[in-house]
Point group: C2
Chain length 259, copies 2
């Protein structure tokens, strides 16, 4: 299959760089076609601004949503944006690899989502009515594709456990996995996580590669996280709150997963 590997780390000789090289080699050895978006190497333009719409005139009012919508509709987006969208259309599976910085993705990757997920591409898709609230959360332009995070942390696994001080890693990743990946339609596979990244020695790296390799070998068969589809009956529309009988008595992120 076609795999897009979106990678956000500034140093090629880092643990992250080594993991990325391992992953790309493993995928290619398995016969997949791989494209890599190495955001630091590409010097990815990070902040959203008027230059993202080629028809925007400096000095005029910039509206992040409206300019994105117009530029996407008129095929007048900045070239780096449309190139990434083309890679997403091409891909069957997209892997996002990054170090967890301040409990989220690096800014350069956040800027990739903000710019590539144009209005009409990543959001603002589909009709709004009494029955549907746009094609999102399980539907959208990226439906039918799979996505997986590969994340390293400096902190210990226990710090990210159910009662760990940083908060559970599943909850920290919810805005990404649910809000950025499931939202435009991706089926989201469980993440690959590597903790205490600064203490990974040769043996640790070998075992991380073994585990990551298995995850890469089973991309097509791994069951995705069972997030609830927005328009399939579990939510009231337009309030978009869970129906009273769904996950009754539950609140928070976990209620948006089935079972």
């Amino acid at each position: 299959m076609n795999v897009l590997y979106v990678y956000a780390h500034p140093e090629p000789t880092s643990l992250n760089g080594a993991l990325k090289n391992f992953a790309v080699a493993r995928l290619e050895a398995a016969g997949h076609s791989v494209q890599v978006s190495d955001l630091y190497a590409m010097q990815w333009k990070t902040p959203v601004d008027g230059h993202d719409n080629l028809d925007w005139q400096p000095g005029t009012r910039f509206d992040a949503s409206l300019d994105s919508k117009r530029a996407f509709a008129a095929n007048r987006q900045a070239a780096d944006i449309s190139a990434e969208q083309e890679k997403l259309r091409w891909a069957d599976t997209v892997i996002f690899q990054f170090p967890l910085w301040w409990f989220s993705m690096p800014a350069i990757l956040k800027g990739w989502f903000e710019r590539v997920y144009a209005y009409g591409f990543g959001y603002g898709v589909g009709e709004h009515s009494d029955m549907r609230w746009g094609d999102r959360y399980g539907e959208g332009n990226l439906a039918g594709k799979r996505a997986m995070l590969v994340v390293t942390t400096g902190g210990w696994e226990s710090h990210y456990s159910e009662r760990g001080i940083n908060g559970p890693i599943d909850d920290l990743l919810f805005p990404i996995q649910h809000g950025m990946l499931f939202y435009p339609g991706f089926a989201v596979l469980p993440p690959f996580l590597l903790y205490r990244s600064s203490r990974v020695d040769e043996a640790g790296f070998a075992s991380a590669c073994a585990e990551l390799g298995q995850r890469l070998d089973s991309l097509a068969s791994t069951p995705p996280i069972a997030f609830r589809q927005q328009n399939a009956g579990d939510y009231q529309i337009p309030a978009l709150t869970l129906q009273p009988e769904v996950a009754s008595g539950q609140r928070g992120f976990a209620a948006h997963r089935q079972g």
Copy 2:
């Protein structure tokens, strides 16, 4: 008092721009000294890279933590980083205003945290022992200061409610309020939130300003969110999980607030 206003929106004539102008005027009228870091206007360099350490040599290995530590210790940080640190030292209260994009802060502001929170300034502070795990989560270089978020969203308040599809706003903001503000020592005031930003008319703007004005008038007296201090007995060290008798039976973000 001294107030630093960190603002991340690309368009001066936007709702966010108008809110920021209102807030700065209100603070100044109350006699406070205000500095504004308008990240888009400053063309804030967003991604972390080797140039953040003036002693880093292009072509050599860059280590985000280690280069940050060395540059901070040697006073060889990029000038834009040390200027923002100086503003933080000066400030009694820091307000961060931004639109919620993809369930988090804009990339340009994420890059502000990544670069300004140097090793030795924002993290990597204090001793690690059996009793303490660094000066963080309630202690650190920014202890004694207050912080508050001012956040606009496109979505409806119900979408961000306890059972709303986007997840509860308090949980979406936890990685910021707990992970980026409480972590280096800030006392974090409850956020000011404005939903459905694209539908705010004149009356809506007037009522938003009235509410925000009250929040600004009471910055010094508003009780902060009661996040648990890391080194005050609630957590096991070094696992950094809650002691069994603390918030017994609870898991997740909410367990890290008292009461």
